[in-house]
Amino acid sequence: MVKNLWRFKGVFCLMTLLCFFLVAFLFLLRGPAAVGQEHILYWGSTGDDVVRVQQKLSQWGYYTGPLDGYYAYETYRAVQDFQRNNGISPDGVVDRGTWENLGLTVTRPVPEVSRGAASDRSNITLLARVIEGEAADEPFIGKVGVGAVILNRLKSASFPNSLSSVIFQDYAFESISNGQAYRPLSEESIQAAQLAMSGYDPTGNAIFFWNPSKPVSPWIWSRNVITRIGEHVFAH
């Protein structure tokens, strides 16, 4: 009984292996067929597309040979005759023009390109975080201003060139260093981030801002002050 089961197991193994090979073989077969999805046919072409052309040509009396899917001499002559009768230069090549004249619509070769997944959502959230952290109590314009400063830094040679590097640069934003920026986002901060992203810049191209009532490095006052919005001074 035990021995019987063993033999059964062996057969089972063999069958799975066979199944596997079969699937692999099918894939191998599919390979060249997929590659041969060529829409221009000429001497030497093979496949279903050739059969379609041969069918059409034999219906219309140009072709008398077998519908074998091989583009050889007889097919070549038939195509030439057909082209001559239809005012196409008789080159014996089934290109787009000949396909159309044969009344066979060629499905346009659409390469397999999946839809992209790029979006700007993460950037808006990131920008809104800093706005929330740095300017939660500022007027709306001041919030847009903070967003604009971050985006202006992206365009400045002295700062990193990606949004995340600008925001997470050490000592760039206090609210990022002390975690204030990780508070829940308010609707207003998101709106301000979106407006800044769409190009609003109430700061006149500033790349620094600070609150003069808080201790700041005296160095910062050597910058060109552009304007003041709410509690913040904006400078270049």
Binding site: P109, A118, R121, S158, N161, E188, S198, S217
Partner: protein
């Protein structure tokens, strides 16, 4: 005797627990510090490697003669500079400590890229370009030497960077003069001497001194006129009693008066803020902070409103090119039109509230910087010829004549085609004068609007 034994045991127990907890904290703290130090060291050694590569590549580009090889070297320079810049930004240095070094890296990469672009267009690298590259090379050598000096210190002292962090934190609290200058500060000061670079790239220095073209030669206005202009730019919905006052100045590239407009009949929360340019009294930007309520207006009506608003306020012919929804508002990009050609560089953004259809924001700084009557070049390539140069895999449509910005200062007259590949849509720009494919943009549909990337 027994009286003190219980408190003593309890006290010892508390002490032991506190000690155990404190020890655990110390261990955790130390491992965090080591972890942080390792991250900083990695960034630092990466930076040193990249700068070394940069130095070698720059020197190679000085001797390479074949344009193809030179092009590859320049692209490598750009890449290494970008990597170095990214490594630098991960070190614990504030902008004031590494700003010049960052600037050197960005501009070197950007300059190399603009030279590579020149080579692509078939032009040569002239002796002026060569001299600039030579100066950049010498600067890179100096930077490399400085970094090697720091490297020695980092190798000696494993907690070099956490020391730097402490120093920086002190620096923020005290006046910086008392604190010894860090190595990086010295390095950054070295960078002061490198040449001013003027070239056709987004980080070129001369771009910071560009004057607003649309305001050239316009007379300076008084604050009183600014007040009046702001009132004129208000999108009056109902007959409210608007009042305006000048509340400040902006001394950016476009000098302006800050004007605030509010409804005199109370409701002081609803303020509209303006920047009105001192030259010519044009609106630079305007923004109302009111949050829009439930939508009653659709995007198409809002678009008409935005176009009408610009027409009423003297903007000439404009066309809407793109919009983005945010909350219950929508922001349109509107471009100028000249002789039927869409002028993309001259862009005004108009925000319309979708609850009452009022214009709540205008942004025209870009427009004021670049708008002027242009001499458009003669078209030499037909639309069909242009279409034939497009990748045949795309299903193309459209073909409007538009003007697009190219590089930092150039503008190109091109045909704009929409191309579909699978589900993705692209914009293809074919030069209408020489037939070159100038740019390919990808359109990305989001719930809020269509992005181009």
């Amino acid at each position: 005797m027994k009286k003190w034994i219980i408190p003593a045991v309890l006290g010892l127990l508390v002490l032991a627990v506190a000690g155990y907890w404190g020890y655990g904290q110390m261990i955790a703290n130390r491992s965090m510090e080591i972890h942080l130090n390792n991250k900083y060291q990695r960034a630092f050694y990466d930076l040193a490697d990249r700068v070394q590569d940069l130095e070698v590549l720059l020197s190679k580009s000085l001797v390479a003669a074949d344009p193809g090889l030179d092009h590859n070297l320049l692209m490598d320079i750009r890449q290494q500079a970008a990597f170095a810049q990214s490594d630098l930004s991960q070190l614990p240095l504030s902008g004031e400590l590494a700003g010049r070094t960052a600037r050197f890296l960005t501009q070197t990469g950007d300059y190399a890229y603009s030279l590579a672009g020149r080579l692509n267009n078939g032009s040569q690298i002239d002796s002026e370009n060569w001299e600039t590259m030579n100066q950049l090379y010498r600067q890179a050598v100096e930077l490399n030497q400085e970094l090697q000096g720091v490297q020695y210190q980092v190798a000696q002292n494993n907690s070099y960077f956490t020391g730097l962090v402490r120093q920086l934190q002190q620096n923020l609290r005290e006046t910086p003069d008392d604190v010894p200058r860090s190595d990086f500060q010295k390095m950054d000061e070295q960078m002061q001497r490198y040449p001013t670079l003027v070239y056709d790239g987004p980080f070129s220095e001369h771009l910071e001194q560009v004057e607003p073209r649309a305001l050239k030669g316009l007379p300076e206005i008084t604050p009183e006129e600014a007040r009046k202009n702001a009132l004129a730019f208000m999108d009056r919905k109902q007959e409210a009693n608007y009042q305006a006052e000048v509340t400040g100045n902006t001394n950016g590239r476009i000098r302006a008066y800050r004007v605030e407009v509010f409804d005199g009949a109370g409701n002081s929360g609803d303020r509209t803020v303006f920047d009105i340019s001192k030259n010519g009294g044009k609106v630079v930007w305007m923004l109302n902070s009111r949050q829009a309520g439930a939508r009653t207006v659709d995007v198409e009506q809002a678009r008409q409103k935005a176009l009408e608003y610009l027409k009423d306020h003297g903007f000439g012919e404009m066309t809407s090119t793109y919009y983005q929804l945010h909350g219950n508002s929508v922001t349109f990009n509107l471009a100028a039109v000249q002789d039927g050609v869409i002028i993309y560089p001259d862009l005004v953004k108009v925000t319309v509230a979708l609850d009452n259809g009022a214009v709540t924001g205008v942004e025209s700084a870009g427009y004021l910087m670049s708008h002027r009557e242009r001499d458009l070049p003669a078209v030499k390539i037909s639309r069909e010829q242009a279409r034939d140069t497009i990748n045949p895999r795309l299903e193309t449509s459209g073909g409007k004549l538009v003007l697009i910005p190219k590089g930092a200062t150039e503008e190109k007259l091109v045909y704009e085609f929409q191309g579909k590949l699978g589900e993705d849509t692209y914009l293809i720009y074919i030069n209408a004068v020489d037939g070159r494919e100038e740019n390919v943009m990808k359109l990305i549909e989001t719930p809020g609007g269509t992005l181009t990337m």
